[in-house]
């Protein structure tokens, strides 16, 4: 990582950018090496600074054409240091190399916005440079309240950072260089400070329980609400979830604790419904699920749909009915595994159907879908959706499902797979029906509408062959949909 930097260095004739730092050491006896001073050359890096009133923002520079964000390896200067043009201020790690970033202006490093070890997107402010000492306070205030007092003249700044969490590290981590830290004092151990930075805990607000009232790593963990278990493990899995319905919210779910918020991000707490989704999704991780896909020709179904549509029948009802009829022949797919030791066969076939409603996701249930006829089912579904929009669903109307249906076909999604909801044995993900060239058994080509259906199931109770058989039945029903109307 460090390697790319100094090959650059050899090519850069930058006589004016040379600083010599003398190591006048504390100990006169120290020298490990005879010659004690060294020379540091700086390379030029892109335009790291931009004018903005008298307080300039130091931006994350683009160090390579592919760099989208950079990590602050170290701040060479600390807050309060005098900077002169051409001096290195900060070391940034890009996707390719470590580079020193130098300032193009004289001034005082007033505030560090992005502390060491954290990342910022290219163009985001990482520090503030004040022209005179008088402006330090202003700059600090600016760093602290970030977006709040967005300076009018520079409204065109690309990366505004309205992030309240940012001031915390600036205020807590290294004691500010202002001489004002006399009486107020929080002693925290090195690891405690590291954890605090990592978990964005304001050390000054933590009560130390260590010796001499010192803040220990344990105190920080307690303050950050970290318990010995590892909630982190869940985060990546949730982030990758293909929510049963294309609701924008779920993927953002519980990824918060592990990754530090980037400057410029906003934190919005979950609504109750979103919290419930999040909880259910996490629970699903304890179930060993697997997936089986099946292509199904829908020409017959489409023809039927055209016929029954005027009578108020929806595609959802058709699919739910077909699934229910198939489930009746394959009870194991309608079963569930409650305790990890047994099958629970359900007497009723209740088809839950995932629906996106503003910012959330709910699964109204079509109870006894195998027994009701298409028209009743369609009517029932209409009622349920209205109730769901009005948030009037009764618990048994959304949590009594034995099998779930999720259809993203109307959005043009051709295939996806769904996460198994707790308490159910299987969930079906239906993609869009699309014209496809198929060869029949005599070798004749024709164009048929086909859709991809993907079922996720709990492998403790539903095995591959079960699911395959169920899907075969389901496809037969879809391909010969007359039975649906009976």
């Amino acid at each position: 990582m460090a390697s790319a930097s100094s090959s650059l260095l050899t090519k850069m004739p930058t006589p004016s950018n040379t600083t010599i730092s003398f190591s006048a050491s504390l100990s006169p006896a120290l020298p490990l090496f005879p010659s004690q001073f060294y020379l540091r050359r700086h390379r030029r890096t892109g335009n790291a600074l931009r004018v903005q009133s008298k307080i300039r923002e130091i931006f994350m520079p683009a160090l390579s054409s592919t760099m989208t964000e950079g990590k602050i390896v170290s701040w060479i200067k600390s807050e309060g240091d005098l900077l002169s043009k051409g001096e290195s201020v900060v070391v940034v790690e890009s996707d390719k190399a470590d580079m020193d970033v130098e300032t193009f202006y004289d001034g005082i490093l007033a505030a560090i916005v992005v502390p060491e070890g954290e990342s910022a997107p290219v163009g985001a402010p990482i520090g503030l440079l004040a022209e005179t000492e008088d402006e330090i306070a202003e700059a600090k205030a600016k760093a602290a309240s970030a977006g709040g007092s967005a300076p009018a003249p520079a409204a065109a700044t690309p990366a505004v950072s309205p992030s309240p969490p940012v001031p915390a590290p600036a205020a807590s981590a290294p004691p500010p260089p202002l001489p004002a830290d006399g009486p107020r004092k929080t002693v925290a151990t090195p690891f405690a400070k590291k954890l605090a930075k990592q978990h964005k805990v304001d050390i000054s607000k933590v009560v130390g329980t260590g010796p001499f009232g010192r803040v220990t790593p344990g105190d920080i963990e307690a303050a950050a609400g970290i318990v010995p278990t590892k909630p982190k493990v869940a985060a990546p899995a949730v982030a990758a979830q293909p929510a049963p319905i294309a609701a924008a919210a779920p993927p953002k779910a519980a990824s918060a604790p592990s990754t530090p918020a980037l400057p410029g991000s906003t934190v919005v707490p979950f609504t109750t419904m979103q919290a419930a989704v999040s909880k259910n999704m996490l629970e699903s991780l304890s179930v060993p699920s697997f997936r089986v896909g099946y292509p199904i020709a829908t020409d017959a179904l489409d023809a039927l749909y055209e016929k029954v549509k005027p009578k108020g029948v929806t595609m959802t009802a058709l699919l739910a009915k077909a699934a229910a009829m198939a489930l009746a022949q394959h009870p194991v797919v309608n079963a569930s595994c409650k305790d990890g030791r047994s099958f629970t066969y359900n007497d009723n076939i209740n088809i839950a159907v995932a629906v996106a409603i503003n910012g959330g996701l709910i699964t109204p249930v079509l109870q006894d879908a195998d027994k009701l006829d298409l028209y009743l089912l369609s009517q029932k579904w209409k009622e349920l959706v209205e109730k769901a929009r009005a948030k009037q669903l009764q618990p048994n109307e959304y949590n009594s499902g034995t099998f779930t249906l999720s259809n993203l076909g109307m959005f043009g999604v051709d295939r996806f797979d769904a996460i198994l909801p707790p308490g159910q044995g299987a969930i079906m993900a239906v993609g869009a029906s699309k014209p496809t060239v198929v060869a029949d058994k005599d070798g004749f080509f024709s164009v048929k509408n086909k859709m991809l259906v993907n079922v996720t199931a709990d492998h403790r109770i539903v095995y591959g062959a079960d699911l395959a058989a169920f899907l075969k039945t389901f496809s037969k029903i879809i391909e010969n949909p007359e039975s649906l109307t009976m």
Binding site: S6, F33, Y38
Partner: protein
């Protein structure tokens, strides 16, 4: 290869520091000249090696080359020399550390009657309070690190339940190792017939040493090798329990929860490795603006990212510790910091313990240097490039040499030993100037850091002064099969060289077993081997040494 060569050899100024420079100024190979001369004329060198003694060199080289002849001459000489009086010894060495030991062994090999004076224990700092016991602690910390690194173990397919340690057991290991090495050292000297004189050595006058209270011994030549002690800046109160130096720390009497280490040189760095592996948290206090001064900046930066940032370590740079008060009356250790530049008070740290690792101070008090008109410089004994002691008038003190930490040229055990050997070479008729740039140094952290020669900034500065070009080549441990097999791909080797002639200016390694890998480079520098020749050398596969192989091969020499 004729006698004429002695002309330039005898002129110290003409001897460049590195071997190949030598080559360019003299019409024969880079090997230091193998000059010997008859016992009768021997003292001529001792007094001076200026051109007045040139005739002394003009002896029959063939005769002198025979070791047997020389040895017999030498031992005869010891007792019945042509000098005005007889001496008890050919050589007395004051200080039985690694430097004195190395000199003594070599002196015996060269046929000198040798005595070594020791006021404390044989082995000196290195064996008793330095390199040796610290390696024992670092061996423990290295294993602890491995056992605690779940991720690493898992990648190797290993499962280990929680690792823990017994502090006393670790301390005993360090102590036992020191004892063992000390007895090895003592035995090796005794077996060879070196007289070990116990007592504090004082120089009474030229060629005269007092040992202890009233024993006076004479010797034709004297080597001072009294070493150094931990340097404690003023204002720091060392109580040996909560404010300690490396002397105390190596006994590992406690493992504090939080220890401040004042000084982030290699001593501080090694201790931070030990303490963090044993569960302590560490705060570095460094007077300079960045940690690890003295290391090549690039290596330092990488080392910081591996050895400091991910560990339970924080640091304050650019600050002096002006006052350190040991823990007492229920109060923690306090460390008052001031800004190194503005001298303004910065803050006060409260920690459980403080280790003072601010370097080492020469141990030269009470040596009787005033008897021979030698004034120390900040405690160091001034010497020329042949370790000959210089008095306060700037003249050489005859028959008196100083090696090791006491002269401050390069405060490393093996440097002291090399200097001692170099002195003995001179005493026995072979002029020798040690090339300090060929002396490797190592820091035994996990992974290790090692270096030889110049750092990149030093090399560039030299290049600018002398008008040559400098190039840098680098290889990563990530590309090395053996390192990857060990799952230790983190590391970098860096070569600083002259592309015009293939001379190695410096090599710096950070990575697995770096300390063992450096010698290929240091030997090359010492022998003046060029990169174009090293490129052809063969390395066993798969070994870590291929990191250097790659490094040399990646250098672009226009030769």
């Amino acid at each position: 290869m004729q006698a004429s060569l002695s002309l330039s050899v005898s002129n110290p100024a003409a001897i460049p520091r590195s071997g190949h420079g030598f080559e360019s100024s003299l019409p024969f190979p880079s090997k230091p000249v193998n000059l010997r001369f008859c016992g009768l004329r021997r003292e001529a060198l001792g007094f001076s090696s200026t051109s007045s003694s040139i005739s002394a060199y003009r002896s029959n080289r063939n005769a002198a080359r025979s070791k047997k002849v020389w040895a017999s001459l030498g031992s005869d000489n010891g007792s019945s020399s042509s000098a005005p009086k007889s001496f008890d010894y050919d050589l007395i060495i004051i200080g039985a550390g690694v430097g004195g030991h190395g000199a003594a062994l070599h002196a015996v090999e060269k046929g000198l009657k040798t005595a070594i004076v020791e006021g404390d224990v044989v082995g000196g700092t290195c064996v008793n309070r330095g390199c040796v016991p610290s390696k024992a602690l670092l061996a423990v910390s290295g294993r602890m690190r491995e056992l605690q690194n779940e991720h690493h173990l898992k990648a190797l397919g290993l499962q280990v339940s929680a690792a823990s340690y017994d502090r006393q057991g670790v301390a005993d290991h360090a102590n036992n190792l020191a004892t063992k090495i000390r007895s090895n050292l003592t035995n090796s000297m005794k077996a060879l017939g070196v007289d070990i004189l116990t007592g504090f050595g004082t120089v009474l006058g030229p060629q005269k040493v007092k040992v202890g209270k009233d024993t006076v011994v004479t010797a034709k030549d004297i080597i001072i090798a009294t070493g150094s002690v931990p340097f404690v800046p003023k204002g720091i109160e060392v109580d040996g329990k909560t404010v300690i130096t490396s002397d105390h720390a190596l006994k590992l009497e406690s493992v504090p929860d939080w220890i401040a280490i004042v000084g982030s040189g290699y001593i501080g760095l090694e201790f931070s490795d030990v303490y963090t592996a044993l569960g302590s948290e560490v705060t570095f206090v460094e007077a300079l603006d960045q940690l690890m001064p003295g290391f090549d900046p690039e290596i330092g930066k990488l080392a910081q990212r591996v050895l400091i940032n991910p560990r339970k370590i924080d640091y304050h740079t650019g600050v002096f510790a002006t006052k350190i008060t040991p823990a007492k009356d229920g109060k923690p250790v306090t460390i008052e910091l001031i800004d190194a530049k503005t001298k303004e008070p910065k803050e006060t740290l409260e920690v459980d313990a403080a280790l003072i690792a601010t370097g080492r101070a020469p141990f030269t008090n009470g040596l009787g240097l005033e008897n021979i008109n030698v004034a120390t410089q900040r405690g160091f004994i001034p010497v020329d490039d042949r370790m000959r002691v210089i008095d306060s008038n700037g003249d050489r003190v005859p028959h008196l040499f100083c090696i090791g930490d006491a002269n401050g040229k390069m405060m490393l055990a093996h440097a002291a030993s090399a200097q001692g050997i170099s002195v003995v070479e001179q005493l026995t008729g072979r002029d020798h100037v040690l090339n300090h740039l060929s002396i490797p140094a190592a820091c035994f952290t996990h992974p290790e850091i090692s270096m030889v020669g110049l750092t990149e900034p030093q090399a560039r500065e030299k290049a600018e002064l002398e008008g040559f070009e400098v190039a840098v080549a680098k290889t990563s441990f990530k590309a090395n099969t053996k390192a990857l097999a060990e799952n230790e791909g983190e590391g970098l080797a860096k070569l600083i060289y002259r592309p015009d002639n293939g001379e190695i200016l410096g090599v710096h390694i950070f990575g697995l077993h770096a300390a063992d890998l450096i010698h290929e480079a240091s030997n090359a520098i010492a022998l003046g081997t060029r990169i174009q020749d090293l490129k052809l050398a063969v390395h066993a596969h798969p070994t870590l040494s291929e990191v250097l192989d790659e490094l040399f091969k990646s250098a672009k020499v226009s030769f």
